[in-house]
């Protein structure tokens, strides 16, 4: 099993390194407020995970609450920076979802990675992580938070985790799609899974909310 995980992780890392920057042309969507800025708004949907009112710090240094992600679909997962096994695969899985979207849909999606590791994954450390894997463009958001808020987030997403005595984390591997209101619409459990369902879910959210302008 371990060998399998390591193999998968190896493929994931190779994928990250090989594909370089997310070199999509973002110039055509700068006028879409739902993507380039994160407007604050009251959370209205009763079953939205955006009811969690914690403050997060992004790898960019930006402070935000989850409610500010409203208005666009989000692919969200939880990782920690010093994790070299499952986490790079999870990041790559989010990227695979993104890249499997038709190009016209891509600008409307945010990829959010929340760290388990309050101590080590400072915003600066997360910025380094993003830079190392060429995930620095504004499609990606790496979030640093406090232990208690990380716990609440994981609980909302159904991610189980535990900090080990050696400082690393046991955690479940989950990539979740949230709609524009922060409701869970699709979850993929495991590593390196097919992305079709996540892609379909994202396209539906974008279509149903008429996010694409013509």
């Amino acid at each position: 099993m371990n060998a399998m995980i390591k193999l998968l992780a190896g493929i994931g890392v190779a994928g990250l390194l090989a594909s370089g920057a997310l070199a999509q042309d973002h110039s055509h969507h700068h006028n879409h407020a739902n993507h380039t800025t994160l407007g604050a708004a009251e959370v209205r949907q009763d079953d939205s995970i955006y009811h969690l009112d914690a403050n997060w710090q992004a790898h960019t240094g930006q402070e935000l609450t989850l409610a500010q992600l409203q208005g666009q679909p989000v692919v969200i997962s939880m990782i920690y920076g010093s994790c070299t096994t499952a986490c790079p695969v999870l990041v790559n899985d989010a990227r695979r979802v993104y890249e499997a979207l038709p190009e016209a849909y891509q600008p409307y999606v945010k990829l959010v990675m929340v760290s388990f590791d309050e101590d080590r994954d400072t915003p600066a450390a997360l910025a380094e992580y993003a830079a190392k894997y060429n995930l620095g463009d504004d499609t990606w958001l790496f979030l640093h938070g406090e232990d208690s808020d990380i716990r609440a987030m994981a609980t909302m997403l159904g991610v189980r985790y535990r900090k080990r005595p050696d400082g690393d984390f046991d955690h479940s591997n989950l990539v979740t799609v949230l709609d524009t209101q922060g409701r869970i619409v699709q979850r993929t459990e495991g590593l390196n899974r097919p992305v079709d369902d996540a892609v379909k879910a994202l396209m539906k959210v974008i279509d149903d909310n008429h996010l694409m302008h013509h």
Partner: protein, 246 residues
């Protein structure tokens, strides 16, 4: 009238008696082992409420934090039975003032503790306190196991008993309600070797340190916890808060 005064006096004193107590740190061997390599934990000092939070105390919280009224709480923070036993959205049932509050979700319990300047205890903190409580009470393994099995046989009856705390020490760790802990979603297995979402009874029993009756009784409590969801609001599940020591 005399009776009423008596009830009020008990209500007030119960609240004072439930003040947090110091749980002195030390070495501790968990019954359910999560790390193959590490079987003994070193626990720091912390404070723990002497008794579970009561309906009366919870009512004070709800009045100050209307977001946590049962008619305003977002659906995502509970499973539909939040404070269902209450008479109205801002008052508990008449006879319940001194009973442990139940039908509160993990989210609600955390919000309460945060408002008191505390937090939910971690699973290890709670279990460590429970072990100390057993010593304080002079409970033999057999007495402890009998108490827990008795509780599990009829938890609703126990949950309905008023609290009767003694000042300055831990009370009612095993004979009223199960209690929320911060990390109740116990990881049953280790790392990447297993898919933790599929953990079951059989999986966790492998990690018991011994199979004596006391350990088995404790294991029951772990098992109950792993059946909860953060939204759960059962009538036998309450909580107490923990506080860091400077």
């Amino acid at each position: 009238m005399k009776y009423l005064v008596g009830v009020l006096a008990i209500a007030v004193s119960a609240q004072v008696l439930a003040e947090p107590v110091l749980v002195e740190g030390g070495q501790y061997v968990p019954v359910v082992v999560l790390d193959k390599e590490l079987e003994q934990l070193t626990m720091p000092n912390f404070m723990l409420d002497a008794a579970p939070v009561t309906h009366a105390e919870y009512q004070t919280f709800v009045l100050a934090h209307p977001k946590w009224r049962r008619d305003t709480i977002p659906a995502i923070f509970h499973d539909g039975h939040y404070l269902k036993s209450w008479q109205t959205a801002d008052s508990h049932a008449v006879d319940d003032a001194d009973k442990a509050v139940t039908q509160v979700s993990w989210f609600a319990a955390r919000a309460y503790c945060k408002a008191q300047g505390g937090r939910l205890p971690s699973l290890e903190e709670w279990e460590y306190a429970s072990a100390q409580y057993r010593q304080q009470q002079g409970l033999t393994d057999h007495e402890y196991a009998r108490m827990l099995f008795s509780w599990h046989t009829n938890p609703t009856t126990y949950a309905q008993l008023p609290l009767d705390p003694v000042a300055g020490k831990l009370n009612h760790m095993h004979d009223r309600v199960n209690e929320w802990v911060e990390d109740f979603q116990l990881l049953l297995t280790n790392g990447d070797d297993n898919d933790v979402l599929s953990g079951s009874c059989g999986d966790s029993a492998r990690f018991m340190a011994d199979f004596g009756e006391a350990s088995y009784a404790t294991f029951f409590r772990y098992q109950s916890r792993s059946n909860y969801r953060a939204q759960s609001t059962t009538s036998t599940l309450g909580f107490r808060c923990a506080y860091d020591v400077e």
